[in-house]
């Protein structure tokens, strides 16, 4: 006779094994490692919350300390490989296989472990893709998560950095998995309930707050004139003519410059209310001046940002906040918002090839994708129209009958022709191809595919790939904005001129922009201190950004 509740029985016996360390749901932090040894089985799929920002650091340390004789061959499924302990488990033989999305801080070490064979790579995903697989074929048996506080019943408050937790916990809890939460404090009454106690099995109170990476703060003092020029081009050459109201900004100095140019340059162009009103965006401090100047209707966030809590609390008309007043973020829903509810993504990258494929991968660093490929892709399942979407669709395909012609999401890559260490942005062959060879991957890690990219903005101008009819035109539109890089100098000047006449390439002067006017004077805030002032003292920047 077939047994249909194996997983349930297994879960019950794991809970029983863990119960000896628990009083109710509560486990002392000294017993964290012993608890994990009790509830985890060799070969398990374990999700350790390494979100983009929030890290379940106590649980990461506890997991890295288990006896590899008892716990081994784990399959780690997690958004971010961020802490050293996330890789220690592989070096110690505790974990064997990995499926993940982002590894920025550990990009060099993870590359070494991948090349050296200590990690068996499942695949590198985007966040949303990984969350999706938690519900299909990568469901965690054990989830190790982080929350701000818990009550005696195990209800959790995840607060501003809620991030990935709901997506992780729902998949785990409803498929007979075990959920272990580390919390900063156990309290009598939570500010609000983000995760119901029914879904949580064990709670460990940590001796210090979980670590949060400050990722989305860009110092206005570091924004260069060239970045300001690209921002002016983007605003006048893309935001304005398409009328982009719903959007996502990738993090970077070019987009920070755009945010700081809204109350000044874009205001002078009469664009307030017509662009940049509804956002899927983390709480970028550089958007504060635009919010204070009345540009922004609302923002949904993937996560939070260090120092922004009080400002967010004071602006509930703008941000998603709970009845307790603090932010509620949700990476899964923000990713979906970026895919289906935004008309434009704009972000930076490290390399672009002649087809417009872009990548942030270099031969000795593996950073993963994070969420960019979601944001930077055309969502073909979209059905509702909007002006920018339809306009882009028409540019891409002017000949089809309008009722059968779907729109296109604007996917913009922005950057200077030469990046850090004078490395060219434009290359004939992406380093990602080399990496694919080294790691024997089916696909080269491309962040945004050329056929999704609609525009490329550099200091030399804007390439509108929607208006390019074939591969050749596309290649030369790219070469036409590639400046003095080898790719740029390899241009066919006649073809580039024809593309310019057609508007497929626009130079600053075609848009009435003088590069000498790209002055830091245009920035609504020129320093972190300015941002603090704009926020009325509510924004409290982390120490590394202070000069007072």
């Amino acid at each position: 006779m077939t047994v249909w509740d194996n997983a349930q029985r297994a879960r019950d016996s794991r809970l029983q094994a863990g119960a000896r360390y628990a009083q109710g749901k509560r486990v002392a932090r000294q017993d964290a490692t012993a608890l994990l040894e009790a509830v985890i089985q060799p070969g398990d799929r374990v999700c350790l919350e390494g979100d983009n920002q929030k890290q379940a650091d106590l649980l990461a340390v506890a997991l890295a300390a288990v006896d590899s004789g008892k716990i081994h061959d784990l399959h780690m499924v997690q958004s971010g490989v961020v802490l050293p302990e996330h890789l220690d488990v592989f070096e110690k033989g505790i974990a064997k296989r990995l499926d993940y999305a982002y590894s920025g801080p550990q990009s060099q070490r993870i590359a070494r472990l991948l090349f050296g064979g200590q990690i068996e790579l499942g695949a590198v995903h985007t966040y949303l893709e990984l969350f999706a697989r938690y519900y299909v074929d990568l469901t965690p048996q054990v989830a190790l998560i982080a929350a701000v506080s818990a009550d005696r019943e195990g209800n959790l408050y995840t607060g501003p950095n809620t991030e990935d937790t709901p997506a992780i916990v729902e998949a785990t809890a409803f498929k007979n998995g075990i959920v272990v939460a580390q919390v900063n404090a156990i309290v009598d009454k939570l500010p609000r309930v983000d995760i119901p106690g029914d879904w949580v099995n064990f709670v460990i109170e940590s001796d210090k707050p979980f670590y949060v990476e400050p990722l989305f703060t860009r110092d206005p003092a570091a924004i260069t004139q060239t970045q300001i020029l690209t921002a002016m081009l983007a605003i006048k050459g893309i935001y304005a003519p398409y009328g982009v109201q719903r959007l996502n900004h990738g993090i970077g100095f070019n987009t920070a410059a755009i945010e700081l140019l809204l109350p000044t340059y874009a205001e002078r162009l009469g664009l307030k209310g017509q662009i940049a009103t509804h956002w899927a965006l983390n709480p970028h401090p550089t958007l504060i001046p635009a919010i204070e100047s009345g540009w922004v209707k609302q923002i949904h966030s993937f996560g939070s940002e260090v120092g922004m809590d009080d400002y967010i609390r004071a602006r509930p008309d703008i941000y998603f906040t709970g009845p307790d007043g603090s932010l509620r973020s949700n990476r899964a829903f923000s990713q979906v918002a970026g895919l289906y509810a935004c008309d434009m993504f704009i972000g930076a990258t490290l390399q672009i090839d002649l087809q417009g494929n872009s990548s942030t991968v270099t031969a000795d660093r593996v950073t993963g994708f994070g969420g960019a490929p979601n944001m930077g892709s055309d969502a073909r399942g979209r059905r509702h129209p909007s002006k920018p979407w339809l306009q882009a669709g028409k540019e891409a395909d002017p000949d089809s009958p309008a009722p059968l012609r779907r729109g296109r999401k604007l996917v913009v890559q922005i950057g200077e022709t030469f990046g850090g260490k004078n490395a060219p942005l434009f290359v004939e062959n992406l380093d990602a191809l080399k990496l694919a060879g080294k790691l024997d991957l089916d696909l080269a890690p491309v962040m945004v595919y050329g056929d999704d990219v609609t525009h490329i903005v550099t200091e030399e101008g804007i390439a509108n790939l929607l208006l390019c009819r074939d591969k050749d035109e596309r290649e030369h539109a790219i070469r036409g904005v590639a400046g003095y890089t080898d790719v740029g100098r390899g241009r066919d000047t006649k073809l580039v001129q024809r593309l310019r006449e057609r508007g497929a390439i626009q130079r600053p002067e075609d848009l009435g922009i003088d590069p000498l006017d790209a002055d830091r004077d245009l920035l609504a805030a020129r320093s972190i201190k300015d941002l603090v002032r704009w926020s009325g003292g509510l924004y409290s920047p982390p120490s590394k950004f202070r000069n007072w």
Binding site: T417, F418, N422, E459, G483, Y484, L516
Partner: protein, 105 residues
């Protein structure tokens, strides 16, 4: 250190009457340009000192485009380079001409 020098014919004399101007600072990713009105109207010269060796072709292209766009006749531009990228170089050259032509720099 590498020393590069380019002499060009300029379409017309740079406007204004200021004898010299200075823009920029020698720092990482930056450069200074000292511009002096010391040459005949139809000539211009760009003299470069840089610690980043081997980029002669790049400088040549940037300078050639600059001369064509801005017609800096009569000007000698002397550069101390701190490892600036082409976009910064082009910007400073344009700022230098504007400064010596007497406009806001």
């Amino acid at each position: 250190m590498e020393q590069l020098n380019y002499r060009h014919v300029a379409a017309k004399r740079a406007n204004g009457s200021k004898a010299q101007a200075l823009v920029g600072v020698v720092a990482s990713g930056n450069l200074e340009v000292l511009v002096e009105r010391t040459l005949p109207d139809g000539e211009c010269e760009v003299d470069i000192r840089t610690a980043d060796e081997g980029f002669g072709k790049l400088w040549q292209a940037v300078v050639a485009d600059f001369v064509e766009r801005r017609s800096p006749g009569g000007l000698k531009l002397s550069i101390n380079d701190g490892g600036a990228r082409p976009d910064m170089i082009a910007l400073r050259l344009a700022q230098a001409v504007r400064a010596v032509e007497g406009e806001r720099s």
